[in-house]
């Protein structure tokens, strides 16, 4: 579904990602892990066209590198960005509405989908009319995920969805991820909480210094020593 080949990204002369290739098949959950500064966020941003990059990014066979972000979103790739980035001065409800911006759907379907998000995150339902900027960090994270779901993504990209969330919510969120996965959604996941990531992922790429160090199925990786030590805290 998504094929990235020889991706290079540099920030003013400094290369953050070098010759990175990865692919995601339809219906898969693929996880990217790596230490701080490895280039995970950079890779995701490049895929979404938020930052310019060299190399090829194909989505369903179509080259999307170079397209503006909003067109990429229309193709069905939706990202929950690092640091949440909810619209601070819009209400929770309007933030969710923005999620559905590029879809042409009827009011009733919109309502249904909104209710689904409220069902996933009851806290959001309680705070429908609160301005997003005044919500706690975790609440904002829920909102960011909910907002992305509203876009009905074909490929959902999550950048550290568990960051700053209470354990009980992390659990919920991964449950949700599993749920969406079961419904057939394709997911590309960046996550520091490697054990959680490996528990939902089918396959996993390990990034170091902007390059893919190795990749394998989640089950195999769980057994690898390096991964255990560095990412699973064992």
């Amino acid at each position: 579904m998504l094929e990235v080949e020889k991706l290079d990204v540099s920030y003013g002369g400094i290369q953050a990602v070098r010759g990175l290739s990865l692919h995601v098949r339809k219906g898969e959950v693929v996880s990217l892990i790596g230490s701080n500064g490895a280039g995970k966020t950079t890779t995701l941003n490049a895929i979404c066209g938020v930052i310019p990059s060299r190399g090829s990014i194909r989505y369903n066979g179509k080259e999307i590198n170079g397209l503006p972000t909003h067109k990429i979103v229309k193709e069905g790739i939706v990202m929950v960005p690092e640091g949440r980035r909810v619209f601070p001065k819009l209400t929770v409800a309007n933030n969710l509405l923005m999620g559905a911006y590029s879809r042409k759907i009827s009011k009733s379907i919109l309502q249904q989908e909104t209710d689904f998000v409220y069902h996933l995150f009851p806290r959001l339902a309680e705070r429908k009319n609160q301005l997003a900027g005044t919500m706690s960090g975790g609440e904002q994270q829920m909102l960011a995920i909910g907002r992305a779901l509203m876009a009905d993504p074909k490929l959902l990209i999550l950048d550290e969805p568990s960051m700053g969330l209470a354990p009980i919510v992390v659990k919920d969120i991964f449950k949700t991820i599993r749920e969406i996965k079961e419904r057939g959604m394709t997911i590309l996941l960046v996550e520091q909480n490697a054990s959680m990531a490996l528990s939902v992922a089918d396959r996993c790429y390990v990034l170091e210094n902007g390059e893919i160090r190795f990749n394998d199925t989640a089950d195999n990786l769980r057994k690898q020593d390096i991964v255990k030590k560095a990412y699973l805290g064992a």
């Binding site: 920030y11 003013g12 002369g13 400094i14 230490s35 701080n36 500064g37 930052i51 310019p52 210094n209």
Partner: protein, 314 residues
């Protein structure tokens, strides 16, 4: 000496220095401390009027009046700055603009400032009984300018400069770091104002006649443009920006252009001026010598990142 120097060129240089002083003061307030001010002309005027009133009305020696008027603008800027600094930062452009209009309106109406008639016959300072004119005044202004540049460099390089830059980027964080933000903001206003006051004082003694018209919004806007064009937070930038925008019209006066209809010459000049502002901002948004951080603004999109060498080891 005066005989050698064409007073016309001397005057050009003196007014250029006056603009540099204005620019430096504004750069301190806006470039270093991040407080956008569209009312700089007010402080310029306060300096000029203090000097004028002291010498003309009270017969104070011009040297003393110059020094006193720096003190007066320092205090008045602090006092006037205070209410504008209390308002939300993104409104500062508007409130300082208002402040400028209010002060100008005061100049125009108050009795002490001569109202609509202004103040004339302002004497120039003298040394050993000789009035400082052309060359003498030029030397005085130059010395003043160099001192001002030196002091600004020192101030901004110190921990106070660091406090200003922190406030500029993130006030809440600055407070949490132990920086008394109001104090330092007011300090920036006061010092920047004092620079403008000094410029005003030099202006008054040079021109010998002042009226409210000289201290209007267009002066504030021009100085701000100069500073921003040169690059906020950079002394070199200020000097360059002032020079560029100041000499542009002067060039039209010094050289004659046959190509364009002289009737519209001055209008073309202004058009070029406007266009230049747009173009510089467009191609060098941080100004020609810019050093001003990308602000935590709503509009952060493609950030062009520059990193110094030696970073990224990871």
């Amino acid at each position: 000496m005066d005989a050698i120097l064409n007073p016309y060129y001397v005057d050009i240089v003196i007014f250029w220095i006056i603009y540099i002083l204005l620019g430096l003061g504004l750069n301190l307030i806006t470039g270093y401390a991040g407080q956008v001010s569209l009312g700089h002309a007010a402080f310029f005027g306060i300096g000029a009027y203090s000097s004028a009133i002291l010498t003309v009305t009270y017969g104070v020696n011009p040297w003393i009046s110059m020094i006193v008027s720096i003190g007066i603008t320092f205090v008045v800027s602090a006092v006037l700055g205070l209410p504008s600094l209390r308002v939300r930062e993104d409104f500062l452009a508007i409130t300082t603009l208002g402040l400028g209009l209010i002060v100008q309106s005061f100049f125009k109406n108050a009795a002490i400032t001569g109202g609509a008639f202004g103040i004339d016959s302002i004497p120039a300072p003298s040394i050993f009984g000789i009035e400082l004119k052309n060359a003498g005044y030029l030397i005085l202004s130059t010395v003043v300018m160099l001192l001002a540049i030196y002091a600004l460099k020192k101030m901004t390089g110190s921990r106070i400069g660091r406090a200003w830059r922190t406030i500029r980027e993130d006030e809440t964080m600055a407070q949490a770091m132990g920086i008394h933000t109001t104090y330092y903001k007011v300090l920036a206003f006061a010092i920047g104002g004092a620079y403008a006051g000094l410029a005003g004082s030099l202006f008054a003694h040079k021109v010998s006649f002042i009226s409210a018209e000289s201290f209007g919004f267009s002066v504030s806007a021009t100085v701000l443009s100069m500073v921003v064009l040169g690059g906020l937070g950079s002394i070199r930038g200020t000097i360059f920006g002032v020079t560029l925008l100041y000499f542009l019209p002067e060039i039209f006066r010094i050289f004659e252009f046959d190509l364009i209809d002289p009737k519209y010459l001055d209008i073309y000049k202004m058009m070029l001026y406007g266009l230049l502002m747009v173009l510089v901002m467009r191609f060098k948004p941080k100004g020609l010598f810019g050093n001003f951080g990308i602000k935590r603004s709503q509009f952060r999109f493609f950030r062009k990142a520059k990193a110094k060498e030696g970073g990224h080891v990871a």
